[in-house]
């Protein structure tokens, strides 16, 4: 009797995990196979357009992959020194600087995108003052990428590199550095020949995360992209124009390609093997070593300065500029001083934007709370399943899938799965938004729980509890769950902030129930700058507060 109950519970849990989390990420790809005929007719042999769609798809994919690749390369170059400082140096205010570095991971991306936009292009931003004339059309020569998009992508992804690499550096023995130096190597040589090989696995998995994030980034990109169309933006546009076939095909290509790229790297870096490579042929070492010695001796200040500048320009400056601009525009326009152009007038004047904003805020709160709530309920048994069973690691790996699937592709997948083309149960609305957010919230919470479980050696205490006579359920209730509670809560808050800031998927699935972060995009596009400033500042302040709460809990 009791055994049947257990099996039933496990079955319900497994089915809900599968349908709510895994299925949406994979549905789009299978759809491309199932509906191949229709896709072929529309994209490859369209009677009216020929292969225009195909060319557009390839063009956006080419742009997105190039963008992601160059973003990651710059992330690594700029992020490594910062990671090194965090891992090896101690100074006052290090905590705060580390927090600032992680801000782009919690701030709603559309708000951050808007902050970057006004920093570089508006009259209240510093670069206009410096005489730099940059706008959304500015293209970087040589690599041929839109400048602002690249900047935003770097801001939003470099924390992944810093986070994973500094964690790995903390685990390597700093005495290697001393030994290497005592053997005559300069700091730079030591880094290249000793430290870098040791942290390569983490560097790779950090790069994979950064790459996936850049590939799927929608919210900020929509705001700064101008006329450039990246793959996730193309999906959003086509879906909104009801061109489902090319959107679905592009989405599944995006998912498939990111898998093809990410899985081998993840597999390689998860192998516990020695990574031994040499970047330079031994016969050429002499020249490089001498160069490194010179750089180490004369340019040592570059590391600190570059890291500081990176943080300032990429993170601090946009936030400050946004808050500053909001305060300047609050009750008057900076040039004319007219009240009619101020934020207060836009919000409370005849256009009554405040109604739109407050409705979006309420929607967002409902979405984020419910999505997080549902995710917590799915996550608790998932964590137990992962740590307690043999097949747990497979689930853990599978749960990385929703994290690398570009969110706009995910949104499309949700519509096709649940809407009238699929199960025909839920249509774009607040409810579909909640279900969509569950897909990427569960992995975040589960990962927090599992890593706390492993780090705190909960298994050891569980064993003790069992030897003292506790049943399995006693043990879960009195030992396992209480021990990982803090990290679980922190993971949940992180999921909440993700949900609050999510734009790419939400755009497609929200129907008429606009959330606050998508509203920012709409406001910018419709030139309601005052309201956009207000909403972005609000989002960033909320994210900062939540980050503070996470800090307090995990301390």
């Amino acid at each position: 009797m009791r055994k049947n109950m257990t099996i039933a519970i496990i079955a319900i849990f497994a089915i809900s995990l599968f349908t709510l989390v895994f299925l949406p990420s994979l549905y789009l790809i299978s759809l491309a196979f199932i509906e191949w005929k229709q896709i072929y007719d529309e994209i490859f042999a369209n009677p009216y357009l020929g292969s225009t769609y195909l060319w557009n798809i390839l063009k956006t994919l080419y742009l997105s992959f190039r963008l992601a690749l160059i973003t990651v390369i710059i992330d690594v170059i700029l992020g490594l020194p910062l990671a090194y400082i965090f891992a090896r140096k101690n100074f006052r205010g290090k905590d705060i600087i580390e927090d600032i570095t992680m801000l782009p991971l919690v701030i709603p991306t559309s708000g951050f995108g808007f902050a970057t936009l006004i920093t570089w292009t508006s009259s209240t931003g510093i670069f206009r003052l410096l005489g730099l004339n940059i706008n959304t059309q500015t293209i970087i020569p040589l690599i041929n990428l839109p400048f602002l998009v690249l900047i935003v992508h770097i801001s939003l992804t470099f924390p992944y590199i810093v986070k994973t690499v500094s964690a790995a550096l903390q685990e390597t023995n700093p005495a290697y550095d001393i030994i290497s130096q005592s053997l005559g190597a300069s700091p730079l040589t030591t880094f290249r020949k000793v430290t870098l090989p040791l942290i390569t696995p983490s560097l790779l998995s950090g790069s994979v995360l950064a790459f996936a994030r850049s590939l799927g980034e929608t919210g900020a990109t929509l705001i700064v992209a101008g006329v450039s169309v990246t793959a996730p933006i193309a999906i959003v546009k086509w879906e909104l124009e009801n061109k489902l076939a090319p959107a679905a095909f592009l989405g599944s290509l995006l998912i498939a390609l990111s898998f093809l790229l990410i899985i081998p790297i993840e597999y390689y870096s998860s192998q516990k093997r020695r990574i031994s490579y040499s970047l330079i042929p031994k016969t050429k070492e002499k020249i490089i070593v001498k160069l490194e010695k010179k750089i180490s001796k004369n340019l040592w200040w570059l590391r600190e300065t570059a890291s500081g500048l990176l943080l300032f320009i990429m993170v601090i400056l946009p936030i400050l500029t946004l808050l500053y601009t909001t305060s300047v525009y609050w009750s008057s326009e900076p040039y004319t001083g007219r009240f009619e152009k101020s934020i207060v007038y836009e919000l409370f004047g005849p256009s009554k934007m405040i109604n739109l904003v407050s409705k979006a805020i309420v929607t967002s709160i409902i979405v984020s709370s419910l999505a997080t709530f549902i995710s917590i309920y799915i996550s608790i048994p998932t964590v137990l399943f992962i740590v307690k069973t043999r097949y747990g690691e497979i689930i853990r790996t599978l749960l990385k899938v929703p994290l690398v699937v570009p969110t706009s592709a995910l949104g499309l997948s949700m519509i096709l799965l649940w809407g009238n083309e699929g199960f025909n149960i839920i249509y774009p609305s607040i409810w579909l938004t909640i279900l969509t957010h569950v897909v990427f919230s569960v992995p975040v919470i589960v990962e927090a729980g599992v890593s706390a479980y492993r780090q705190l050696n909960v298994e050891l205490y569980e064993g003790t509890a069992r030897t003292l006579g506790a049943t399995f359920y006693d043990m879960i209730e009195t030992v396992s769950l209480p021990m990982i509670k803090k990290s679980f809560v922190a993971g949940s808050i992180l999921a909440f902030t993700h949900s609050l800031g999510e734009t790419g998927a939400t755009f497609l699935v929200m129907g008429n129930d606009i959330t606050i972060s998508t509203l920012v995009v709409n406001l910018v596009e419709s030139q309601a700058i005052g309201t956009a400033l207000f909403s972005s500042s609000l989002l960033i302040i909320v994210a900062l507060v939540l980050l503070g709460v996470i800090r307090k809990i995990t301390k």
Binding site: A175, I178, Q181, G184, P197, L198, S276, K282, K293
Partner: protein, 367 residues
């Protein structure tokens, strides 16, 4: 002829915050010597090693290598090889690449690097292991490789901090002799830090004992064992000690007749401090310096309270007039102790010191 450096440490003091790690330490290490620095944890031995290596700067005092003050010479230019407890071979490089690392990173050209490396590999007979990674080596081979790597950097002085690490006793015993012969064969000077007195006794040419940041005795193992300068050293070198209180009855040359009231006996002890007749003194008697007599005659008799069996000897706790003495008794045909059995004792060697101000207990504490 390769010049082997002579190291001189002069009046080194190191203060961390308000903790004095080293207090006015002076030391001279000769060419080709194998010196062990030994002391309880917190005695400052690692700090001293780091100062000689140049990893840490002293608060006061100087280090001289071949008569040159090296205080301002950075540690990568001192020609010193450091082998730490974790050995720290670069895990991503094969044995050969570990050894060729120092000449490579100094910017020598490829041919020179290769010939230096090959020569060292041949000298240290690592030829069969060159293509292995460090984690595929035994601890002994790892250490050999670490020394080879240090030699490749041009080091003629090797500093080793607890090189046996957490090795089990049996392997550590074998390894430390291999290590010593390697260093002697290569004609290197070595400073070896350990907390294990047995290890130090068995490999060192000379031993330096540190306690609370001060050098308290320097000498060959025999010198220190037979002339411990204070009660603490008498206990630290040798392991265990019976510390007793007594009164000087008579002085004959280097020896004194001491009355030990608690045992009710008089003994002859070697004078280690300046003492006067009638003065209260501290006496050190090692457990191996007390003999049990086969037949009890009723004089100097004690009763066995408890004993432990160690195979080749017994450790016996003998109650003599309510004072318990610890005695090591080698296995003998006639001796199979039972609790309550009576034996006479004979103290064959003892040392007498001024009575310590802090009391006997504290004077011999390891802290």
């Amino acid at each position: 002829m390769i010049k082997i450096p002579e190291i001189e440490v002069q009046n080194i003091t190191k203060i961390y915050g308000n903790i004095v790690a080293l207090n006015n330490v002076s030391l001279r290490i000769r060419d080709g010597e194998y010196v062990c620095i030994i002391g309880p944890s917190g005695s400052g031995k690692s700090t001293l090693l780091k100062i000689i290596a140049g990893i840490v700067k002293p608060t006061k005092g100087s280090v001289y290598i071949d008569g040159i003050d090296v205080n301002n010479v950075p540690f990568d230019e001192r020609g010193i090889g450091v082998v730490l407890q974790d050995i720290l071979l670069f895990p991503n490089m094969k044995v050969r690449d570990n050894i060729s690392y120092p000449p490579l990173v100094k910017g020598l050209d490829y041919k020179t690097v290769n010939s230096i490396t090959s020569e060292i590999i041949r000298n240290i007979s690592l030829t069969v292991l060159t293509e292995r990674f460090p984690d595929e080596l035994s601890r002994g081979s790892q250490q050999k490789t670490a020394i080879a790597r240090a030699v490749a950097s041009g080091a003629r002085l090797i500093l080793m901090d607890e090189p046996m690490g957490s090795l089990d006793t049996r392997s550590a015993r074998q390894l430390r002799h291999e290590l010593r012969s390697l260093i002697k064969d290569l004609g290197l000077t070595a400073i070896h830090i350990t907390h294990n007195q047995e290890e130090a006794m068995s490999v060192a040419d000379r031993i330096v004992i540190l306690r609370n940041g001060k050098v308290i005795q320097v000498g060959t193992p025999q010198e220190i064992y037979f002339n411990p300068r204070n009660l603490f050293i008498a206990r630290f070198i040798g392991g265990e000690l019976n510390a007793l209180e007594g009164k000087v009855k008579e002085i004959i040359g280097n020896y004194a007749i001491i009355e030990i009231e608690s045992l009710g006996i008089n003994i002859k002890a070697k004078i280690m401090d300046k003492i006067n007749i009638g003065e209260k003194v501290g006496i050190a008697v090692r457990p191996e310096d007390i003999l049990l007599k086969e037949k009890s005659s009723g004089i100097n008799t004690g009763i066995i309270k408890s004993y432990k069996y160690y195979g080749f000897y017994y450790e016996v706790f003998l109650d003599v007039n309510n004072t318990v003495l610890q005695i090591k008794v080698p296995r003998k045909r006639w001796f199979s102790p039972t609790i309550g059995e009576k034996f006479d004792i004979d103290i064959i060697r003892a040392y007498v010191y001024k009575y310590p101000e802090e009391g006997l207990e504290k004077a011999i504490a390891y802290e």
